[in-house]
């Protein structure tokens, strides 16, 4: 016996996928929201396809500017996605129970950031089908090998962490097999939280090391400890600092877009406090590292530090902005109890922190390559092509879509139901 599927029945079926006790906008409204993102995704996939099928001459990269917008995107989203491992670490290892309110959202954000980064990396390399060569014939001295191994392993960890979240969907959790698997997997999440923290430690670090080891690029080159240059550690600390900020920011944006309260106020406070403290540590380390680099590392290789800042538009303002406006200022806003008591100030601080880390990744990737090495060279110019920008936007659209669908059909914020029930609990 089959009956025709009427639109109202379709809406009913769709609503049955959404957990009871939470409000979600009607399906047509949701589809209206996703439509432009889908359009952007399709456009970006076309741009990426041009690069994959015909070659990277569709980009504006060249033999001097061999890394461009995409590598900047990779480094930035992976830093912002650090909230996934850091929140997991805080919840399962440091036992900060407030993090329960955002852990699912953090996992989805991590998954989105890392899968997006890997996807764009596959467009960025000239021969993506040879990606497995790195595993088969690894050069263990290369930072990129460390990055490749760790990110692949961590993406697997994120997928496993996403599994319980996905299986908690209202329809899926009715399947006993899924529910039992989810329950048991969730109980062992601490293993994956530890693995995630371990892997993140190394790949966030090796992304920094990626540039720090470039002895041929004195702007990026740093001395370090053992095989790891100082940027290795700076990247870890800055990623840990900005992860919670980004979680706070995305949670707030989701609250505004959905029109519902999703977490208790103190969750913001905790995220901001942790983020701010680590950010201040980072700024101190970064300042010390900059001084050592200016006074010892660079001069020893025949480069005066001031020379790096003679190239417009990369004047000293960029260094000062990184440390001051995007470092000390958000650090203070997030650490000071009085300042972060205001939600607007707190979010401002979080946004500045996120922008600061993005700026740092920009400096490490884009500025490093713009600066000349040979004395007679002029600074290199680079502006991304529309194909590069399109692929970039596709990753953003992909992230927004995955997050939107996850938010609609899964429980990203466990407190939402509780808050809808009777306001804030002590």
């Amino acid at each position: 016996m089959t009956t025709a599927l009427t639109p109202s029945m379709l809406l009913q079926r769709e609503r049955e996928l959404i957990r009871r006790g939470v409000d979600r906008c009607p399906l047509p409204q949701f589809l209206m929201w996703t439509a432009p993102w889908f359009a952007l995704l399709v456009f970006g996939c076309y741009a990426a396809w041009l690069c994959l099928s015909q070659g990277l001459f569709h980009t504006n990269m060249d033999n001097q500017y061999a890394f461009g917008l995409w590598i900047f995107l990779d480094l930035a989203v992976i830093a912002l996605g650090a909230g996934a491992f850091f929140t997991g670490f805080l919840l399962y290892v440091a036992r900060k129970q407030e993090m329960k309110a955002v852990i699912n959202s953090a996992v989805v954000i991590g998954l989105v950031c890392y899968s997006g980064a890997v996807a764009v990396l596959m467009v960025d390399v000239g021969q993506p089908l040879r990606a497995w060569f790195t595993f088969w014939h690894p050069n263990v001295h290369s930072m990129l090998t460390e990055v490749t191994f760790c990110i692949t392993a961590y993406l697997t960890v994120l997928l496993i962490e996403y599994l319980p979240v996905a299986l908690k969907n209202r329809k899926l959790c009715r399947v006993t097999r899924y529910a039992v698997f989810e329950y048991e997997l969730h109980r062992l999440m601490v293993v994956f939280a530890l693995l995630g923290a371990f892997l993140s430690f190394f790949h966030q670090g090796s992304l920094g090391g990626l540039y720090g080891v470039l002895r041929g690029r004195p702007f990026a080159f740093r001395e370090g400890f053992g095989i790891w240059p100082s940027t290795f550690f700076l990247f870890i600390v800055s990623a840990a600092a900005v992860g919670p900020s980004f979680i706070a920011l995305t949670t707030w944006i989701t609250e505004k877009l959905s029109g519902h309260r999703l977490v208790e106020g103190r969750v913001y406070d905790t995220l901001a406090r942790i983020s701010g403290k680590i950010l201040l540590v980072y700024v101190a380390l970064k300042a010390a590292d900059t001084l050592v680099w200016m006074n010892a590392t660079a001069p020893a290789r025949g480069f005066a530090a001031r020379g790096f800042y003679e190239t417009q538009p990369f004047g000293t303002w960029i260094l000062l902005a990184e440390i001051g406006v995007f470092g000390l200022l958000p650090g203070w806003l997030l650490v000071s109890r009085r300042a972060r008591a205001s939600r607007a100030v707190l979010l401002c601080g979080a946004a500045l922190a996120c922008a600061g880390v993005a700026l740092n990744r920009f400096v490490m990737t884009i500025q490093t390559l713009a600066l000349p090495t040979l004395p007679f060279e002029r600074p290199a110019q680079y502006w991304p092509s529309w194909q590069e920008a399109g692929t970039f936007l596709a990753v953003i659209a992909f992230g927004v879509l995955v997050y939107s669908f996850s938010f609609r059909y899964l429980t990203l914020f466990p407190q939402e139901r509780e808050l809808a029930f009777g306001g804030e609990k002590e």
Partner: protein, 274 residues
Amino acid sequence: MFPWVYGFEWTAGRIVFLGIFFSVLLVMFLTVAFVFLKSAVHFRTGRAYFIQWKSLFHELPRASRACRHALTGHLPGRVCEGAFECRECSKHGELLEQGREAAIGAGAEEIMGMTVPLDRYYHRGHCWVKPLKKGLVAVGLDELGRRLVGRPDAVETPPPGTWLVANSTAFWVKRNGTAVRVLAPVDGEVIAAGGPSDDWILKVRPPAPLDTRHLLRGDEVRAWYRREVERLELIAGRADGAPALADGGELCADLGEAFPERWDAVCGEMLLDT
């Protein structure tokens, strides 16, 4: 990657790097394998349905998870952590040993216009259990449950012979094209399903002797009902801009009619469905 791959050398860097990588993979694999194994064991030992309920239980709002002893005021503010499985609860066992078990009552009580017979046991999912002769029990929706469900389009009962597990699905009530799951109050074999004119829905043969430690009775029912009406006000008020639920202190007879749009949400939440 492996010693037999061209170019492999036993250098310290390679051993450390690949050693760590393979260890990470191994830990991941073993953990997932362990989860599969553990799940399989749950199915074999018959705990799977309880686990399923347990994993859903923790998603419920705190107000829906109040301990039965919090309802009666013995343990104020206590929230159940054991998925309403009082048979496994050490706190409940302690209280029983102290002789704090509520006695099963007799007759019926009027609560907000609802007739609640006290000669039977109640499950938190709004099913009652009434012992019959020959070791059978009748299972039916209680008065609040009936008012929540109203006149269902269909009641989907399991076929006779099905083994029910307490807190897993007993039957489904369907209305307006959606279905709400009703929790089974006891373990046991389904013997018969009632028709629309019966006040019971299933007849079940539970394992003898009948274990009712996890079910509410007597004074507890009164306290629980008051709390449930509060909870309903909360849910329904949230759902539809708070129209009058109860007219002159009486709960309306059919919530499905009062909230055709939100029946699924309100009824599902009250019956502890996800």
